[in-house]
């Protein structure tokens, strides 16, 4: 039953909602509240539930964020382990291979880059796993303590909203009741009037009395109705204040979450940037590699080979060997 005449709800011009996509909007205020709460006034009965929902969403979102980072940490770890295994496997194979000299050393260095890059990504992964994610989970735990089925915090807010709204709700019921009574009194009076007008001489007196009673009833009912409206007008500001108080606490709660998320995003970007930009391990990797490249000397390798297996080896030439007894 539509209790109030409602003015059309116009969203503030400064914040335009994102265009909704298809029937199931995934952005904008429509999406936020599944359409059902959109367009209602906050102070209307039960409308505060949207604020409670936002609180609970916060928990789910924190969970989602942690899960997402978890997956990222995992894929980094997979990469890390593959790189490390690659580096070690081929280091072992190189040692056994036919390669020799400075060429072999440089090759070994090139394979070591796998180990070094593995270190970088290992740190990325463990920064997420050992630092960022636990922080996130702890924050979630601290702010969303559970008691049986609900979150304590949400339950608290709900209780406070209900308290703030209790007497107002009763008042609205009263208004509704008195309004009905008034309307039915009006209808009755109207009927009585008509009856009086169309009545015969003898009935007229009786009906006139009835009409008179009905009119008086209308008066009483109207007064009662008006009084209730006035009462509402008087109580309105303290009601608003009470509701706002609770609401502000949910706002603060949400602001806290938003700030924490921002912090987390910042930390994430730092972890990523540390791994890739001006990374000391990568710097060292490059320097080591460059140093070994500088030492690569085909001449040295060839000379070494020639000394050990080539023309610089000690040939034994046949000599005249005298007979010995």
């Amino acid at each position: 039953m539509n209790l109030f005449s409602r003015k059309s709800v116009i969203p503030p011009p400064s914040l335009s909602p994102s265009p909704s996509i298809g029937s199931a909007a995934t952005a904008g205020p429509e999406a936020f509240a599944n359409n059902s709460a959109y367009g209602r006034g906050f102070f209307e009965p039960g409308a505060y539930s949207i604020a409670l929902k936002r609180c609970e969403n916060g928990h789910d979102l924190a969970q989602q964020l942690a899960d997402m980072y978890e997956e990222r940490a995992q894929l980094e770890l997979v990469y890390t382990n593959q790189l490390r295994a690659w580096s070690r496997k081929w280091h072992g194979e190189l040692v056994k291979s036919q390669e020799y000299g400075t060429n072999k050393k440089v090759w070994d260095q090139s394979v070591t880059t796998g180990e070094q890059m593995a270190d970088v990504h290992g740190i990325l992964s463990s920064s997420l796993t050992d630092s960022l994610i636990p922080k996130l989970r702890q924050w979630r735990k601290d702010n969303y303590e559970k008691s049986l089925v609900h979150y304590k915090k949400t339950k608290e807010f709900e209780k406070d909203f209900i308290d703030a709204q209790k007497s107002w709700a009763k008042l609205l019921d009263k208004i509704s009741e008195y309004k009905s009574s008034y309307y039915s009194a009006c209808k009755t009076a109207k009927l009585a009037d008509n009856a009086e007008r169309t009545a015969t001489e003898e009935q007229r007196r009786k009906l006139a009395d009835k009409a008179e009673v009905a009119r008086r009833e209308v008066g009483f009912a109207k007064t009662k109705y008006e009084q209730a409206i006035n009462e509402a007008r008087e109580q309105r500001s303290s009601y608003e204040t009470a509701m706002k108080n609770v609401f502000e606490r949910t706002q603060t709660f949400e602001r806290k979450r938003l700030d924490f998320f921002k912090e987390t995003f910042d930390e994430y970007s730092k972890v990523i940037e540390t791994a890739t930009i001006d990374n000391p391990i990568l710097k060292k990797m490059n320097e080591d590699y460059q140093a070994s490249l500088n030492m690569h000397s085909s001449d040295q390798d060839l000379t070494w080979w020639d000394q050990n297996y080539g023309t610089q080896t000690n040939n034994r030439w046949p000599e005249y060997e005298e007979y010995r007894d």
Partner: protein, 315 residues
């Protein structure tokens, strides 16, 4: 030589594995020693294959990483878009994912450089220089044949020397035996003159034999001495060609190692610059206050509440 205990076992052409290394401590011109050079060529071929295998595997690992990153980024962004998040917080969340996705592009560049400048180059080098014909690598077979050719007559000469040495030394042995026997007979008062003179004749024959074989032996040695410079030159000529072949290979390896180095450097990578930019932009755009206000306008205390007013009954 004893310091090599701590070094890991090497391949056959390195001197450290003394006991099982057949080429160690032999002179290059000695028979079959050139096989060390052939082994080196073969080793070079195997090195090319090993190189390709190692870095192809590396490229594969990179590609898998890139693919995982892209999948994760796309799935995360989709999930966030459809989530209950809202406002600048949602944007910042999505943008931070998008920013970190740039790393995928960086690694894409790495793997492209690795593939084109390193692996593919080695593949074509191997093809050009180690062309195969059914069973073997043509070039290597060529070297082998040339060595054999250069060494063929030398080996025959060595065999001749060995044989003539044996002949001479056998003759010498017989002579000594005969001389000893002669001495004994001479000092034996009961010996017959017949025996004595027979013995003298024997010794004389053996002496001649010994001299003949000795002279043959010495002649062979002389021949060897004369042939030696030519032989050494022929062998050296083939060896030099294998040196050049190996030098080419070492040079190529060095070039490719340098290319690999360049492939891995991400210091000036443009994607990382983009990433930093995106991170900074998204952090700057995050506005908790704005989000709070927005929500307040749509669902909070700034919403248009209808308050009860006196409503007259309409006819």
């Amino acid at each position: 030589m004893n310091q090599v205990q701590c070094i890991f076992p090497q391949g056959q052409t390195t001197p450290e594995r003394v006991l099982s290394n057949p080429w160690y401590d032999k002179g290059f011109c000695e028979p079959n020693q050139y096989k060390a050079a052939i082994d080196r060529c073969k080793g070079g071929y195997e090195s090319c294959e090993l190189f390709i295998e190692i870095f192809s595997e590396r490229a594969r690992i990179e590609r898998e990483y890139i693919s995982n990153l892209e999948k994760w980024s796309a799935a995360s962004i989709k999930e966030i878009s459809q989530s209950k998040e809202f406002g600048t917080n949602k944007k910042a969340w999505i943008e931070s994912i998008r920013a970190s996705k740039e790393i995928g592009s960086t690694h894409g560049d790495i793997v492209q450089r690795l593939q084109e400048n390193v692996i593919d180059k080695m593949v074509s080098y191997k093809k050009e220089n180690y062309g195969k014909s059914i069973l073997h690598v043509k070039k290597i077979k060529e070297f082998e044949r040339d060595f054999e050719q250069a060494q063929k007559s030398w080996i025959k000469l060595l065999d001749k020397i060995n044989k003539s040495r044996r002949d001479y030394q056998d003759a010498q042995r017989l002579l000594k035996k005969a001389e000893t026997a002669e001495k004994i007979i001479e000092s034996d008062r009961g010996a017959e003159e017949e025996q004595k003179s027979q013995m003298k004749l024997s010794v004389s024959t053996y002496k001649k034999q010994s001299e003949a074989t000795r002279s043959k032996y010495q002649q062979n040695i002389e021949d060897m001495k004369n042939t030696r410079p030519n032989y050494e030159n022929s062998m050296k000529e083939v060896l030099d060609r294998t040196h050049a072949f190996e030098r080419r290979r070492l040079t190529q390896f060095k070039t490719l190692f340098a290319a690999l180095h360049q492939a891995l450097i991400i210091e000036k990578d443009s994607h990382l610059l983009t990433m930093t930019d995106l991170f900074n932009k998204s952090a700057a755009a995050h506005d908790a206050e704005k989000d709070i206000q927005w929500w307040n306008s749509h669902f909070g205390s700034d919403t248009n509440t209808a308050w009860p007013s006196f409503e007259e009954l309409k006819d």
